[in-house]
Symmetry: C2
Subunit: 447 residues, 2 copies
């Protein structure tokens, strides 16, 4: 296919230092010590920048005990660097790639969040993004003085107000507030400082923020919600939506729904990039890629895997024969129907044993693209053209090889087809994503 | 004086990007834009590292409106980078110098604080320090949902408990907890993870922390308290005390008091470094240095300066003749006696006009060493030998020149006398400061 001037994909890398997959630290050639080795993280982000990825996106957790101890002892996923300190460090070894940090609206203060993202945005010359999460894991509550986790709708209510406060604090100073006039002695013009004085149902914050307006006006807003309030919050506020549809029809439905809600909320739907999360495994053939995945899944310890399967089915799976398919006579349970039926269907479709199915769920389930670069490029092109995605939130099966395969084999194929940039055109993450710089709600630009 | 193998000074640089002095951004050759220019900060810290300073120490504020608007418009001191994001970035352009961040026990959560300092310590290979502050400024409360500031004794009570929780969280993992045994699939040994389960008067935190034990065991603990509860908290917990005595006799009394309290609390007094804060102005002569200071003070706008003088005297000073000495018949007021009498004495001693006195207070008062390097080195040696200090928290009048003068002229003189290191001997901040790595209270080291 010749290079076309049409729409291009956006690609962000969704990362944990060793990989999101719980078996990945045991995969041959991986770096089991990457959680506390900045050297590895530097090399990952520098490769992603050389491949012109839009952003490096760090997943996060606020607790260790979010899994049974038998799973915890096998897992590399929750004990690592804190996102702001990590991304600030990485901002100094990169120049263009975006830096997205996860931060919770349930267990932090808007003044701190606004300030840290503004600071990261200044330190990186306009590359920060905030992944707004409401923190679903009830164990986190116990690390922050609460016995009970805030319920789902209260968390989303607070999140919506939190967003208003944070963006309001980012607008504390007009872009031209700091005049620094040595002669007169005026450093900042008081009439260009806005005191927010927010008093709402959940939050009370005076302001102003003690940092100049971010380089990007506001750091880019990222969100992952798939639930009803999650979709609505995303439609009203997000500029990048990170979602988990199972297949293209589901993706198209979600895409249309969120863009429709955004339009209804008075937003330009082009200013929301919908980037489904997907695992990418490159092989010379589809079969080779599938073998890599089976091998990776097999590295998830059975103790961890079987508990994931039990949760998905809503029934204790530990008595099933691990080397046979799922029993046919599974009881009806209280598990979510989608989760239960999806799991059964997955087992049938890929002809998986209980062990393989459990390992898939205990490792990393969900959408995956497997095979040679040209086949995957064909598929991504269909997703882009048919309105299933504006790009992808890329996850790698294992590091560094899984990342190297994507940047060395898949990205060049996408670039050849004109589906992905060959170089950054702007300097800020907003520019990479085709997003406008927000106006300051309190100050009109002086011309 | 020949090189002696005796006790050496410790030097930390207490920084705001433009300088702590409110007039500094107007001083010839300064960088008024340093608050948002990482380039300048990189050059400052790299010069300090080349001079073998123990640490780079970032002052912090949690509000803008901690001064009248007439002072605020003239001030560069409160709008800048957030400390963790800044120091993490600077950790990547330095290798040995310590990185001390201010963090509040009143307006943050122990889980976040423990996690960020641990992360900074890992990212910097053992160079982090936590300056524990209780946040004295009542305006900060309003940025964190409270109408009323917590009172002094409650803040110190919370700070003491907060310290126990943070250090307890740092001890969540034994140093050898992460075994990463690819063969067996054990990433971390559950019996080497401690769940804190803290329930106290002020805080309730479950744990464990989701990051490995810091490289230094615990980041170095810094504190500034001079009040009664501040001194006691420092004696019980601090490893570096940053204080503000007016002169050597006051410094000796404070030094003896804090070391005595530490001994009474069962600590080794050698494991508390007492580092008075002082302004250093180098000149070829004392007179030249004094002229530099007068010039710098004159750059503090009279609007800001006079309100500082009024506060210090406890009476409205705006009606005084700016070009004459303080009136003799000042009324008795409710201002702190120390502050009022100290101000009057300072005006008499240096024969200052109202304008000069106001500018001194509005700029940067307190202890200062002025003059040629050999004279200052003589003085510092006396302070060290007579037990007034273990070193100094150095503040620079203006940047970069005030810093260049110290590192290029004073430090070599101190090194020549054997009073300051010529090279770092260790790699961590604890090693620079002669501090032991704390034992993990929950796990005995396996040998």
């Amino acid at each position: 296919m010749a290079e076309t001037p049409g729409k291009q994909l956006h690609l962000t890398a969704f990362m944990r230092p060793v990989s999101l997959h719980t078996g990945a630290w045991r995969y041959p050639g991986s770096y089991p010590d990457a959680n506390f080795s900045l050297k590895h993280l530097k090399s990952f982000i520098q490769k992603l920048e050389a491949a012109k990825f839009d952003a490096f996106f760090m997943a996060d957790h606020l607790a260790v005990l979010n899994m049974p101890v038998e799973a915890l002892k096998r897992s590399h996923t929750v004990t690592s660097f804190e996102p702001f300190t990590l991304l600030s460090a990485l901002s100094q070894v990169t120049e263009r790639i975006g830096l997205a940090a996860t931060a919770s609206t349930t267990y932090d203060e808007p003044y701190h969040i606004a300030r840290r993202f503004a600071s990261l945005d200044h330190l990186s010359d306009g590359r920060a993004a905030w992944n707004i999460v409401t923190t679903g894991n009830p164990e986190s509550a116990k690390n922050f003085g609460r016995d009970e986790h805030m319920d789902h709708s209260d968390r989303y209510k607070r999140a919506r107000e939190f967003y208003d406060v944070v963006t309001g604090l980012w607008d504390s100073f007009a872009d031209d507030a700091f005049v620094r006039d040595v002669e007169s002695g005026t450093f900042v013009e008081p009439e260009k400082i806005h005191t927010l004085n927010h008093v709402g149902d959940e939050l009370k914050v005076k302001g102003p923020l003690n940092i100049a307006r971010p380089v990007q006006g506001w750091p880019v807003i990222v969100q992952a919600g798939q639930s009803e309030p999650g979709r609505q919050l995303a439609a009203e506020t997000a500029e990048v939506v990170f979602c988990s549809p199972r297949d293209l029809p589901a993706a198209k439905a979600l895409y249309d729904d969120i863009k429709g809600r955004a339009k209804a909320a008075g937003r330009n739907p082009d200013h929301i990039n919908i980037l489904p999360a997907a695992l990418f495994i490159i092989g010379d053939t589809v079969e080779e890629a599938q073998q890599k995945r089976l091998k990776l899944d097999s590295l998830v310890h059975y103790d961890s895997a079987i508990s994931s399967l039990s949760i998905a089915l809503g029934t204790d799976a530990s008595g099933f024969d691990p080397d046979k398919p799922l029993p046919k006579d599974l009881p009806e349970t209280n598990a979510s129907k989608t989760s239960r039926e999806g799991t059964i269907k997955l087992g049938e479709k890929e002809d998986l044993t209980v062990r393989q199915l459990a390992s898939r769920l205990g490792g990393q389930g969900g959408l995956a693209f497997l095979g040679p670069p040209d086949k995957i490029a064909d598929e991504l092109e269909v997703w882009l053209r048919e309105g299933g995605a504006d790009g992808f939130t890329v996850t790698f099966p294992y590091l560094p090889q899984g990342l190297d395969d994507v940047v060395e084999r898949l990205v060049p194929e996408l670039q050849r087809r004109g589906l992905f940039r060959k170089d950054y055109e702007g300097t800020t993450l907003r520019e990479h994503l085709g997003l406008p710089r927000p106006e300051n709600r309190f100050f009109t630009k002086t011309t």
